[in-house]
Symmetry: C3
């Protein structure tokens, strides 16, 4: 293996509808790794902001409804103390982001993020309005 360190990033800019819309970013992650000829190491996938999240799922239509419905129960829309600060009605969006997390780091083996066939890396935008999101991919390794 090439002994030199690869330390490469790419920023994806993604338009979302908010409202817990889910976007599959797996192809972008894998093509980023191919473009820098990554072989092995770690790749972080991280969304900037406090009303979105990064996780993995089987990206199929049923679960694209089930995950938002679960979140509607765990952190429902409604009145939160957050509204006293900003009056923007998105307290539930913040809670979902802190619960799911905004960054996930995956092993890279043989040039690919180590995911299952039915496992995709997704951005979920929990905000209550359309947003432009930055998702940062950072690879470190060889």
């Amino acid at each position: 293996m090439d002994p030199s360190l690869k330390n490469e990033s790419k920023t994806l800019r993604l338009a979302t509808r908010g409202a817990s819309q889910i976007l599959d970013v797996t192809a972008e992650v894998q093509s980023f790794l191919a473009s820098i000829q990554a072989r092995q190491g770690l790749v972080a996938v991280s969304v900037v902001g406090s009303t979105a999240g990064i996780t993995t799922m089987e990206f199929e239509p049923g679960l694209q409804k089930d995950i938002p419905e679960m979140l509607d129960k765990l952190a429902p829309e409604g009145r939160y103390h957050h509204d006293e600060t900003w009056h923007d009605g998105n307290g539930h969006s913040h809670l979902r982001s802190s619960l799911i997390g905004t960054s996930q780091t995956f092993p890279v083996l043989k040039g690919r993020a180590a995911l299952g066939t039915w496992q995709q890396v997704v951005l979920i935008d929990f905000d209550n309005r359309p947003r432009e999101r930055e998702v940062i991919l950072q690879f470190l390794g060889q």
Copy 2:
């Protein structure tokens, strides 16, 4: 410290019963780090698939019941839209995986993943049947 980069992985193959069975993988993580003479850096612990998760807990018998019981409330077994796609009855398994996350990355200091005495790294298999799981350990550092 040896200035050269260590970039090492190991894949654990683990048989589970599913049904939110919890397996402690801490000893495997620490012995992997010892075997490659890791000193300092980052280690990712990641399960391949969309119906399992990686987290930390105090691995004692009480919490081994409490965690599945919490998940029974947060994402109960039942009818999900996911069943319309696959008819496999494991919608709750997928939801739990997206909620807990499939990958965790830990600092490595003095040759060991930086965990507390009563803190173990665990695989939880949320699926509704026994599975063979791949857990990937990836160290990067020195």
Copy 3:
């Protein structure tokens, strides 16, 4: 960029009140990165123990109430099997830690952890009593 690898850690020692008190550690993370002249790579922020967590949030007074109130619903104080082992009444603290996670890894770009303006890295101490916590910062990159 300096081609040599930086592999640096710092341990923060933080006194908390427990009871889901939230402490903003963002300034400590960014000043650590400045002190080691980090430019690009990965930084892990990890709390040692099984009754605390690391996540991100907008660190404003409203959400500092909303997040504990959400956790009071998802993993309420009460009787857990954990009490049969230790009789310390903090089963809910352990559940919250396993749910939120104890470690988060972020991309570092241009010398700073890649976070939004209204996004802070926080330690939440879920335990039911004051604690001294160790939060480990581990940077790997250049």
